[in-house]
């Protein structure tokens, strides 16, 4: 085997704080060889981005790293800023998550790339300039942008996927040997994500670079990586070759993470979620970091952090495990059978949804159009959409950004008025809520409620949770007695302790805030709940909690859902009937299972194909498509 390109040993990252130092990453060791792809997988707060920043010497002020990052015979952590300049970009390239802020908005794309190019040709001369421009155009072609005119455009004139391509071209400009990609596809639509990942993979293979992919999405990691490092609360809990990890995770956390992920190909009865959320590394120091959330935690787990050991080389080797699988779980021999059994049980198919639709449609939308005017520009967000939601029915609405799905939700909730077309909610014509009589409007408010995507801004930061819920209760019933008792009941119904009534949103985690937002919507006892991407801002394990909660609420109260999402595997779990939207039109509809099993519309087929799969053909499949698209 060849020598490792990058070798990280006992990396520790901590932040100065009034109480001493907060640990952000407690101990991370990893190796990367030329041509290899490793994935660092973890939820928010696991320290994965801090690890990447430490490796590239980009830690923010006040945050320091110790340990060793060996690259080319040097420990990078000891370098000074001036020495870093010879490494960053030339030796180690970096791609960040947000293509919208990563490129300098006042520079043209060609300039962004050529400024990172090695100095070639005579600077300042016309010949030198022409040479650099030609090189920039060639680099753009390498990332699938065949149109040389893009070099003269500004970043804001490009789509998210195109920007990410330009960013990749800039990161590759000096031909680095290591590429670190921090959530490179998270901000992109599913099909664009596939293109970008395929592009990164292709360039990596062509150049024989080492690639470190940082992601929260296990499916992406399985599709891209040779080896996966599972990071949790600043510690590595498991590392294994990707295929083996997917076949059998050997740590309760990776096991739970795999189960929380809604399967793309079938509907399960209940998602297995991990309770709680990722703790701060210092709160779990001195014990197994995962112990507080682990269903198999025992007394031994609390005594010291278990070391990450190679399971094949341990004193009592785990049977049937090849060398190179490391896990930090003490109880593995005892719980291995349980873990396998639980996976089998969770993998069982749920009873299929009833094929027919319920008789009484509660929401009827026909030929709805919504046109936004901005100055002289008009944007058609909804172009003749017809949708029905029955009483107690769970309807999914799938589409990428710009498909008009959120606009439809806003029209239904009375936050926008329709340009033309009919909307009937519970027998009331509601295309424009402004024209409704007060009585009707009140009735609709009690019929339809909405849960927003961003749990951080959907609660008033200045109000306590109790005040927010109390207000909603008072709106349903101005003469309500024992409001605090009802608030406690509501909190309990979404799985939160009653004591949360006194807290402000800032002290709650994202999942807890989303629970409060759901409780607030439920306070007026709606008959249909519009969920606009309610879990897309949440971690995978928390996402499963919320999806289970929504399923439990539906079973309990019989309310209907209009569930808006870009994620096909979520829609499979939660909805009975499905609408697929594209460019403001419904391109396909039908019972969820049928649409996903045998999609008829090419767009639906493409969406389904863009869900990450570990098979080799997934990334290959997108190449032909993206080449064609970039050329057009």
């Amino acid at each position: 085997m060849n020598d490792p390109l990058l070798d990280v040993r006992d990396l520790r990252v901590s932040r100065r704080s009034p109480s001493g130092a907060d640990t952000l990453v407690s101990s991370v060791s990893l190796t990367l060889r030329a041509g290899e792809t490793i994935g660092i997988v973890g939820e928010s707060g696991s320290g994965k981005s801090m690890t990447a920043k430490a490796i590239t010497g980009l830690l923010p002020p006040g945050i320091t790293a110790s340990g060793e990052v060996r690259y080319g015979g040097r420990n990078l952590l000891t370098l000074r800023e001036r020495e870093w300049r010879g490494i960053r970009g030339r030796e180690i390239g970096l791609i960040l998550q947000d293509p919208f802020t990563m490129l300098n908005p006042v520079l043209r794309c060609g300039t962004i790339i050529s400024e990172s190019l090695p100095r070639a040709g005579a600077p300042g001369t016309a010949a030198g300039r022409a040479q650099r421009r030609a090189e920039a155009v060639r680099r753009l072609a390498e990332v699938g942008i065949a149109d040389p005119a893009v070099a003269d455009r500004y970043p804001f004139q490009l789509s998210g996927g195109m920007r990410q391509r330009v960013a990749i071209a800039a990161a590759l400009a000096r031909d680095p040997r290591v590429l670190i990609a921090d959530e490179p596809s998270t901000a992109l639509d599913a099909s664009t994500q596939q293109d970008i990942l395929a592009l990164i993979k292709r360039v990596q293979q062509a150049r024989g670079m080492g690639l470190v992919l940082i992601t929260h999405d296990l499916r992406v990691a399985f599709a891209m990586c040779d080896r996966i490092y599972v990071l949790y609360a600043g510690s590595l809990l498991e590392t294994a070759p990707a295929g083996e990890l997917e076949a059998e995770p050997l740590h309760p956390y990776s096991h739970g993470l795999l189960l929380s992920e809604p399967p793309a190909d079938h509907r399960v009865r209940d998602l297995v979620s991990i309770p709680g959320s990722v703790p701060a590394p210092d709160l779990v120091a001195g014990s197994c970091p995962f112990a507080p959330r682990c269903r198999w935690a025992a007394a031994a787990c609390e005594q010291g952090a278990p070391p990450l050991i190679d399971l094949a080389l341990a004193e009592v080797p785990l049977p049937g495990v090849a060398p190179g699988r490391l896990s930090a779980c003490l109880r593995l021999p005892d719980i291995r059978d349980d873990m396998v059994a639980l996976r089998e049980q969770a993998g069982q198919d749920a009873v299929a949804a009833p094929p027919g639709r319920s008789a009484a449609p509660l929401i009827q939308v026909s030929d709805l159009r919504k046109v936004f005017r901005q100055g002289s520009r008009t944007v058609t967000a909804l172009d003749g959409v017809s949708v029905e939601v029955g009483e107690g029915e769970s309807v999914g609405l799938v589409g990428e950004s710009g498909s008009g799905k959120t606009t439809l939700a806003r029209v239904l909730a009375g936050l926008e008025s329709a340009s033309s077309g009919q909307v009937t909610i519970d027998g009331v014509p509601a295309a424009d809520w402004g024209k409704l009589a007060g009585k009707d409007r009140r009735r609709l408010r009690g019929t339809i409620q909405i849960v927003f995507q961003d749990p951080y801004s959907s609660l008033n930061p200045m109000h306590t949770i109790g005040a927010a819920l109390g207000e909603a209760i008072a709106i349903r019933d101005p003469a309500a007695k024992n409001v605090s008792g009802q608030v406690a009941e509501l909190l309990q119904s979404v799985g939160l302790p009653a004591g949360y009534a006194r807290r402000r949103p800032a002290t709650l985690s994202g999942g807890e805030r989303q629970r409060v937002a759901i409780a607030r919507a439920l306070a007026v006892r709606p008959r249909v709940l519009i969920c606009d991407e309610p879990v897309s801002a949440l971690d995978v394990s928390v996402q499963a909690q919320i999806l289970n909660l929504l399923a439990a609420i539906r079973a309990d109260r019989g309310i209907g859902y209009l569930f808006i999402t870009h994620d096909l595997s979520i829609v499979r779990q939660i909805s009975d009937y499905l609408y697929v939207m594209h460019h403001g039109r419904v391109v396909e509809s039908g019972p969820t299972d049928r649409v996903l099993a045998s999609p008829a519309d090419p767009y639906t087929i493409k969406l389904l194909d863009s869900v990450p799969r570990p098979e080799a053909d997934w990334l290959a499949g997108s190449e032909a498509l993206s080449q064609g698209r970039a050329a057009s």
Binding site: D270, P275, A413, Q449, I450, Q453, E471, A517
Partner: protein, 297 residues
């Protein structure tokens, strides 16, 4: 296992959001500058409330035989040209220096915030009408209007206060409208709308607390501004009636005897500067504190 499926974490575990609060959100102890500002304002407030009790002499008692006395003895800061005790007049003058700006800042904050919330939240025609009025008010030279109007109507302290209220309202309106405009499209406001919360309640109960840091800071700024404006008007003879103890008037009265008893001019001048600066700094500090209270992330 089913019982753990829906349940949230136990309340004992601090959530990551609470832990990861930014440094600015931590409650910081006020710096010594702010403490000094508070002391200065507290002294002025004591002078306003208990002025007549703590003044060593009658501020209006004239004694021509002891005019323009140097500081010292019975008159700590000397006497003015009519033999009135400067120190007692300073204490008595705190009333007009403080109450007028308080009324101006308070009244314009009330009216301006309501107008600003209304314009920012409702938008459309309401916004257009209110903001064109604000533009109109801004294009008027304020001091000139006061001089002309109070010159025509005969001047007077409360007339000046009233005019300053009207001239200050546009400042509050503009600031609060901009802040409300930023809050209005946020999901928490839309969530309140979909719940059916009445518009006035969304403005006052949901949006205002989130714009209150700028609103409060602006009110303190207005206080400082109107304190100097009122003193200036009194200095020009358009404010308080002649003879009233007032810092601005004391400036103009003492001016001709500047070199005989400079303290009679410097003391009220210093008080004007110190009070105005203190209120300004306290306003900034409050803004920082209030906005950290609702830090979302």
């Amino acid at each position: 296992m089913t019982d753990t499926v829906v349940a949230a974490p136990p309340p004992a575990a601090p959530s990551p959001a609470a832990r990861a609060r930014p440094v600015t959100a931590r409650r910081r102890r006020p710096s010594w500058v702010i403490v000094v500002c508070f002391v200065i304002v507290a002294v002025v407030v004591v002078m306003v409330v208990f002025g007549s009790v703590i003044a060593p002499q009658n501020p209006n008692a004239q004694n021509p035989l002891n005019a323009l006395a140097k500081p010292g003895g019975a008159h700590w800061l000397g006497t003015d040209s009519l033999g009135r005790d400067v120190f007692s007049r300073l204490i008595a003058g705190a009333r007009t220096a403080f109450i007028g700006p308080l009324v101006i800042a308070g009244a314009s904050m009330l009216v301006g915030n309501l107008l600003g919330l209304w314009a920012g939240y409702r938008g459309g025609r309401v916004d257009t009408v209110i903001m064109r009025w604000v533009d109109l008010m801004w294009s008027v030279p304020g001091l000139l209007v006061i001089i002309v109007v109070s010159g025509t109507l005969g001047g007077g302290y409360w007339l000046a206060v009233g005019l300053l209220v009207i001239l200050t309202i546009p400042f509050d309106t503009r600031v609060v409208r901009a802040a409300a405009l930023e809050q209005a499209p946020r999901p928490y406001v839309e969530a309140a709308r979909t719940l059916g919360v009445p518009g006035w309640r969304i403005m006052v109960w949901h949006i205002w607390p989130n714009v209150s840091p700028v609103a409060v800071a602006n009110a303190f700024l207005n206080f400082a501004g109107s304190l100097t404006a009122l003193a200036g008007l009194s200095f020009l003879g358009l404010g308080v009636a002649p003879g009233t103890p007032d810092w601005g008037l004391m400036l103009s009265e003492g001016l001709q005897d500047l070199f005989v008893n400079p303290v009679a001019v410097l003391a009220p001048g210093a008080l004007i500067v110190l009070t105005a600066t203190s209120m300004n700094l306290i306003g900034d500090w409050l803004q920082e504190r209030l906005s950290s209270r609702g830090a979302t992330r």
